[in-house]
Subunit: 333 residues, 2 copies
Amino acid sequence: MQRIRIKDVAKEAGVALSTAALALRDDTKLREETRRLVRDAAARLGYVYDRSAAVMRSGKSHTIGLLVCEITNPFYAELTAGVEEALDEAGFVVMLANTSESITRQRRMLERFREQPVDGVLIMPATGTPPSLLEDLEQWRVPHATVVRGFRRGAHTGPDNRAGTRMATEHLLALGHRRIAFLGGLTRNSVSRERWDGYFRAMTKAGLAPEQLCCRTDIGEAAGVAEALPADGPTALVCFNDSVAFGATLGLLRSGRMPGRDVAVIGFDDIREAAAWFPALTTVRVSPREIGRAAARVLLERIADPAAAPRREILAPTLVVRESCGAHLRWKG
Amino acid sequence: MQRIRIKDVAKEAGVALSTAALALRDDTKLREETRRLVRDAAARLGYVYDRSAAVMRSGKSHTIGLLVCEITNPFYAELTAGVEEALDEAGFVVMLANTSESITRQRRMLERFREQPVDGVLIMPATGTPPSLLEDLEQWRVPHATVVRGFRRGAHTGPDNRAGTRMATEHLLALGHRRIAFLGGLTRNSVSRERWDGYFRAMTKAGLAPEQLCCRTDIGEAAGVAEALPADGPTALVCFNDSVAFGATLGLLRSGRMPGRDVAVIGFDDIREAAAWFPALTTVRVSPREIGRAAARVLLERIADPAAAPRREILAPTLVVRESCGAHLRWKG
DNA sequence: CGCAATCATTGGAACGTTCCATTGTGGCGG
DNA sequence: CCGCCACAATGGAACGTTCCAATGATTGCG
């Protein structure tokens, strides 16, 4: 009992090797009858296609390398699901690498992907990734696209972070808030910068002083900061993302304040837990799954036509008003 | 500018093709000097190893197929991270497939993995997976191991679910509770059965009547059930997992009851958010990352020696007492 | 000093596809 | 009846490694 090859199928069907190969790919060059003949023979023998040989000969692996900066982050998990879903529909399979925000690990996996070989890589760059990484990829001739976190150039897919925090801030302004702080965004990557920037512009445009409460993207840390907030502190918090917002609401509860009533809280991302939260979280929806699907499309396009100018797809976010911003209480300032 | 092959490196270094190949693998059969010579030549030319040819010739891909039942579930995301981490250390790379609990998708991806080919598959079976799947894998001669959700036979790694819910229930009994319900576990898979069973045994052993409050593993749904709980209902809830427990605490809060004071809640898994929760969640810790790492080891062992009896590694859980069970309040029943 | 054993290197087949050029066959127009 | 074309099928090289058997050089030992 050994492996069945196309050669064996061809013999069984009584045709030449290359005919059998064409038939198994369902090539229309062959008569339907011949194709059926071969298909039946393959089924009879239990033939299993060997992709490794095809990859080697054709140079196409139908495999994409996916570098995730932190898969245990629900936002990136959802995004990964979207990427995988869309690539699968297109007949591609995903090689996963979780970098855990380590740029050395990221580098190593990228080199591994280059040998593998993959047809392209989708990168959510680890914090601190030098822009030269893209140049290396270009020189290596590896089709690539960034997701969520990006650089000035190259194919990219991500949410419009600036617009998101601007909407959130303007919503709070419209509710009458004046002392609005930005919570989170300690790490220096493009997402942090852009989200801070949207908030900053909305505040300065309204003639108010922006204020940043720094913390890492961690429920516990955010909770600590919110719990320690003085009574004469901000009346509203624009949070870096939902995890930080969750932390903020927990911290407020711990210090006896009701999120939404005593201090307004708005998150960012609208991860699944946001709607079920107590109080239900007002947040900026960016649909990570959709971003993932779009990113897959952008990369596949790039693979199909590497000469074309890299596409940049920036998805518009929407504000989902729930309870934590206090809008339902008709806040009066 | 075309691809550099071993042949080119050999020419540059002035040795035979097979010598260069051995040198690049750093084989000790060769003199250190020769190896260095070849390494230098490879570096000079910018040689990149082509794994696809190696896979085809050797039949070993150093690739593992990972079937995740639902990657957006934080527990499985963390587990995936553990698997990826351990496999990477062993020089293996992960092909990811998220089945989203669809058995047809699972089947399709498995067939894809068979062609790919992968050296083995790690499966977190989708709910409703027939045990015959393992038989197929065996017949296909694909080394495999199940994770968390398992079957009677075959290599497996997972937590001791029975012991976990038993510990949780006994803890609540020791705190004086008598009306203890089990929340969640609507889906019929091995995990649901085992967790219910641990609770059931502890209750009947104590001479009490077990009660199941059914709901799917979903924060919103669990919140609904908890919110509707009557005043003369259970005083304590053993939850299927942390997500359900989160839902339970939110539902209790919504109906004006304080989790831990009015109704005790215990979760299962100890996902990252559990410690930061309000109130901090008492839960059964199973360390998904460790399970993932262990599962990777079990599969690699199986690949190394397919003839050996499949190993089953059941990890002991620990009870992490925080606030939601009310233990800190010295509950008196 | 000769023969075996060891060491370092070499040559070439093999892995199972894809791809390209070629052959054979039948139909059709001139 | 011949040449031409389209169609269906074929033959064989190529992809870039690994693996194995074989070679030549050097050492060890009786």
